[in-house]
């Protein structure tokens, strides 16, 4: 999906900033398909990680999305700053479900299969709250937040059956129209759900 396009942004500082904004999702295709990214893509990604390191005044989500990028490099076994336990996520634990969902949605790039960050742990601990946040976001017609929440719901267990996540994801994508960020999260969620369904069948495990 992204392969090859990132390289052309290398000389462009705004392009580099765009890579930083998209965060770990720039390499999402590689992460989801477990394939090594193109070297050029990787180079730009690494450059964005180094250039836009968070400062003392950066917000928690800025710090975490940056960590997500370094973690992605680590996962792809690229030379990076190395793995880390991750920054503090206690600010997230204290949030009520609407704010929790909003913050998680901003950090939806961290919602990938097998994610073991502290943020992912908070999400995993509060499936009903995130599901409520998804409902709230749809009712508020905040499609981007709904898509981000939906993506988190695709990587955690304990989501109430009655939520109807699959139809919900379709609905959000179609209601959002051409919003590429919504499309990204929804496609990621659908891909993750399809994969985990396949895995569940082959493992004879949970459905």
């Amino acid at each position: 999906m992204v392969g090859g396009t990132v390289g052309t942004l290398a000389d462009d500082q705004l392009g580099l900033a765009a890579v930083r904004v998209l965060g770990a999702d720039v390499l999402l295709p590689s992460v989801l398909t477990r394939r090594r990214p193109l070297p050029d893509d990787l180079a730009v990604f690494q450059r964005a990680v180094l250039t836009f390191a968070p400062g003392a005044t950066s917000s928690e989500t800025t710090v975490w999305s940056h960590w997500g990028m370094t973690q992605t490099l680590h996962r792809l076994d690229a030379p990076a700053t190395g793995p880390g336990a991750g920054p503090d996520a206690s600010w997230l634990e204290a949030l009520e479900w609407p704010k929790l969902t909003h913050q998680l949605s901003i950090l939806a790039a961290l919602a990938v299969p097998g994610a073991d960050s502290a943020v992912a742990q908070v999400a995993a601990d509060r499936p009903v709250d995130v599901a409520r946040g998804f409902v709230r976001a749809v009712r508020r017609r905040d499609w981007l937040q709904a898509a981000g929440a939906g993506r988190w719901l695709s990587v955690i267990d304990g989501v109430p059956e009655t939520l109807g996540l699959d139809t919900g994801l379709e609905f959000v994508a179609q209601m959002a129209g051409a919003d590429a960020r919504v499309g990204l999260h929804v496609h990621a969620a659908q891909h993750i759900r399809a994969e985990s369904a396949v895995n569940a069948v082959s493992a004879g495990g949970r459905g």
Binding site: T51, S58, S59, R140, D142
Partner: protein, 61 residues
């Protein structure tokens, strides 16, 4: 390295905006509920169902 330095200068300005991009506040909720569209089904003041079949006319002859 010149590129690195250059990048740092530009991104110093970008840093501030970057944080806004990476921690946006929540969008305002938009509430719109379905409207009832009962006009076609209800008689209103006219005294007859709009969607009822036409009144049969007596056949001539």
């Amino acid at each position: 390295m010149a590129t690195e330095t250059n990048a740092r200068e530009i991104t110093r300005d970008l840093d501030v905006e970057m944080d806004a991009f990476l921690s946006p506040s929540e969008a305002e909720g938009t509430y719109r509920d379905s409207r009832e569209c009962a006009a076609l089904l209800l008689i209103g003041g006219a005294g007859g169902l709009l969607l009822s079949p036409p009144t049969p006319r007596p056949k001539k002859g």
